[in-house]
């Protein structure tokens, strides 16, 4: 049985079509990340799962049971809000135990469960504090604790790390991955941060303008994006796209020309339309001083220690982001000799679809 299923889900806000024909099924124990630019509908989708927004049409199922018409509390889901939504007048323990308190559970049971959840999250020393006496990371844990004690069928996370500073975000990311393994629970997680998506997800759902663009494992989406949007969204720094000057289908492959160079590629996985653009990730470029096929001019250099990022411009005016291993000595204005090695080719047809998916 699937843990969660969305069937032909539509959501309108007046004239605005926030979700269009969303179909998604989630297996028990899966960590699903909904990712996309702001306004893409990912938060709306999460809120419809929680029952905080009504759907215009379509059906939602949790554990095989239709929940479309049910109230939030009847759906057996727990949500961690972006703002944490902790009650400032309650202690940590009261915040975590709030749901059980209004359900009139015995006090001993509440205390026991709150303590157990707090231990998992390592906040058992702060149970009598108020939220304002906690750091951002600790508040985050309290919000998660509130979800854990309810032992829900699905955990929903709405951009839970976006209020934390960079270092803490990385730490909490690892913590969340660990928690997911420990609880073995179904989790649906919304973020606009593609690094969080790549690192946490069993499967990523890339959304854009109310539509699901592609669903798949992080590496599957990274290596075989269905279209230009997914290719450009995943990967940091993002992939660049160059217009093809020509292409030739050979017996066992495809040769494409762009920006004065040509690259031989294996045979496309599907027919698709007319090849139109090539997608190049920064690490598709390699240094080659013997027989360079491209020599763009360096405009900006970023030394990251283990890698070097070069923001360059080709003779025909197109820009290319180049990521080279190690510490490359280069100056602004230098021409760097490069060759292209398409580790996982991305050629987009005139409709923006990848013919190598």
């Amino acid at each position: 049985m699937t843990a969660f299923e969305a069937i032909s889900l539509d959501k309108h806000y007046g004239d605005f079509h926030a979700l269009r024909d969303i179909n998604l099924s989630v297996e028990p124990g899966e960590f699903i990340v909904l990712v996309g630019p702001s306004g893409c509908g990912k938060s709306t989708l999460m809120r419809t799962i929680a029952g905080l927004e009504k759907v215009t049409s379509g059906d939602l199922k949790i554990d095989g049971r239709s929940v479309t018409g049910l109230l939030p509390k009847e759906r057996d889901v727990a949500m961690v809000f972006q703002s944490y939504a902790l009650y400032p007048h309650m202690t940590v323990a009261e915040n975590i135990g709030f749901g059980m308190k209004i359900a009139k559970r015995p006090k001993d049971e509440i205390r026991e469960k709150v303590l157990a959840a707090a231990k998992v999250l390592k906040i058992d020393d702060y149970l009598s504090r108020r939220p304002k006496a906690l750091s951002g990371g600790q508040r985050q844990r309290v919000a998660i604790g509130r979800a854990i004690v309810r032992d829900p069928k699905i955990f929903l996370f709405d951009e839970p790390l976006s209020n934390l500073d960079a270092a803490l975000r990385v730490e909490m990311r690892v913590e969340l991955a660990r928690l997911h393994n420990q609880l073995d629970a179904t989790m649906i997680y919304v973020t606009h941060d593609q690094v969080e998506a790549m690192t946490l997800a069993d499967r990523i759902v890339v959304m854009n303008a109310g539509v699901i663009e592609q669903v798949g494992s992080p590496l599957d989406l990274f290596n075989h994006p269905r279209n230009k949007f997914v290719a450009g969204f995943l990967g940091q720094p993002p992939a660049i796209f160059m217009r093809l000057d020509g292409h030739e289908r050979t017996g066992d492959g495809l040769t494409v020309q762009f920006s004065g160079t040509s690259v031989d590629l294996p045979a496309p996985s599907r027919q698709g339309g007319m090849p139109f653009e090539i997608g190049l990730r920064p690490d598709f470029f390699e240094l080659d001083s013997q027989s360079p096929s491209l020599s763009p001019t360096v405009e900006v250099i970023e030394q990251l220690g283990d890698t070097t990022l070069l923001y360059t411009r080709l003779p025909d005016g197109q820009q290319a982001t180049v990521q080279l291993a190690g510490q490359v000595k280069a100056k602004v204005g230098d021409q760097v000799p490069l060759r292209v090695n398409c580790k996982s080719p991305m050629i987009f047809d005139d409709g923006g679809e990848n013919i190598y998916r």
């Binding site: 509390k73 703002s83 009650y87 400032p88 709030f98």
Partner: protein, 294 residues
């Protein structure tokens, strides 16, 4: 760093105004309450606590005092009961939030005299809206009630007063509720909270400071309540409607027979001041709590 002298210079105008128009008159009130004095001429006669002794034995004063307390507590109970009830209802996500807010507040922008006239019409025993409505609903007996008879007039006035003031405190409470982040309620929805849970465990604690100030404003208003019951009684205010404020006015400025008694009136004023002051201190003490940070 601004020098202490400079601070003094900037604060001085406000302090002078405060001193001249508040502190000195207040002090003078205490002082004049110790005299038998008409308020005119210089024939003030020092009688010590004589005015207070007279108050103690004055049945009209005690009637006014009881009325003021009834207004304060019974009226206050209904004003806040209704204001909270409407707050819950208006915030439950019903349609027309702004419309209801406007409708409930509207009595506050109309002149008190006009409101009193309207209620006089409503309470009119023969043609009034209330009795004709009751009769048309079949309550013949209740429809014959003389709402403005001496037995009923105070409570009839109080009901109208509650109707006027509820809107004002509703606006205050709603403004407090509006600053509570929506996701607090959403989180509670997911936890299974009903309307009452959300009101009691989230709204009340999170508008605590607004409630405190609302109670204080109500106390101040109720203790000095004058214009509404006064206008309700038209030209000859029956004693059943006397509040401390009205009695003060009658004794100090309103009754020429035997003569204006300003010294006696200021003694009533002192009682009002002490009553308001001690209730405010009590409320603030009972409701004292840490500042919340959202």
């Amino acid at each position: 760093m601004i020098g202490k002298r400079l601070i003094g210079l900037f604060v001085a105008p406000a302090m002078i105004v405060y001193l001249c128009f508040f502190l000195i008159p207040t002090g003078f009130t205490f002082y004049s309450s110790l005299f038998e004095w008409s308020g005119f001429g210089s024939e003030a006669k020092f009688i010590g606590l004589g005015n207070y002794r007279r108050l103690w034995n004055d049945p009209t004063f005690w009637l006014s005092f009881r009325n003021t307390l009834a207004l304060l507590f019974v009226g206050g109970f209904f004003v806040f009961f209704l204001a909270f009830l409407y707050t819950i209802l208006i915030n439950s996500g019903i349609w027309g939030k702004k419309l209801f807010r406007l409708v409930f507040f509207l009595p506050n922008v109309v002149s008190v005299v006009a409101l009193s006239a309207m209620w006089a019409y409503i309470y009119n025993p023969r043609y009034g809206l209330l009795n004709t409505s009751l009769k048309s609903l079949g309550f013949e007996g209740a429809g014959k009630t003389l709402w403005t008879s001496p037995d009923n007039i105070f409570w009839a006035m109080l009901a109208a007063l509650v109707w006027v003031f509820t809107g004002f405190f509703l606006i205050l409470l709603l403004a407090g509720v509006d600053k509570i982040p929506a996701d607090m309620y959403e989180a509670a929805d997911l936890e299974g909270a009903n309307l009452w849970h959300k009101f009691w465990y989230i709204t009340v604690p999170m508008i605590w400071d607004v409630m405190t100030i609302s109670f204080v404003i109500w106390i101040i208003n109720a203790v000095k309540m004058f214009e509404f019951p006064f206008a309700f009684g038209f030209l000859q205010v029956p004693q059943q409607l006397y509040t401390l404020g009205i009695y003060l006015y009658i004794m100090g400025f309103g009754q020429r027979d035997p003569i204006y008694q300003l010294g006696y009136a200021t003694a009533i004023g002192v009682v009002m001041l002490v009553l308001a002051f001690s209730l405010i201190v009590l409320v603030r003490r009972l409701m004292r709590r840490d500042q919340l940070e959202f």
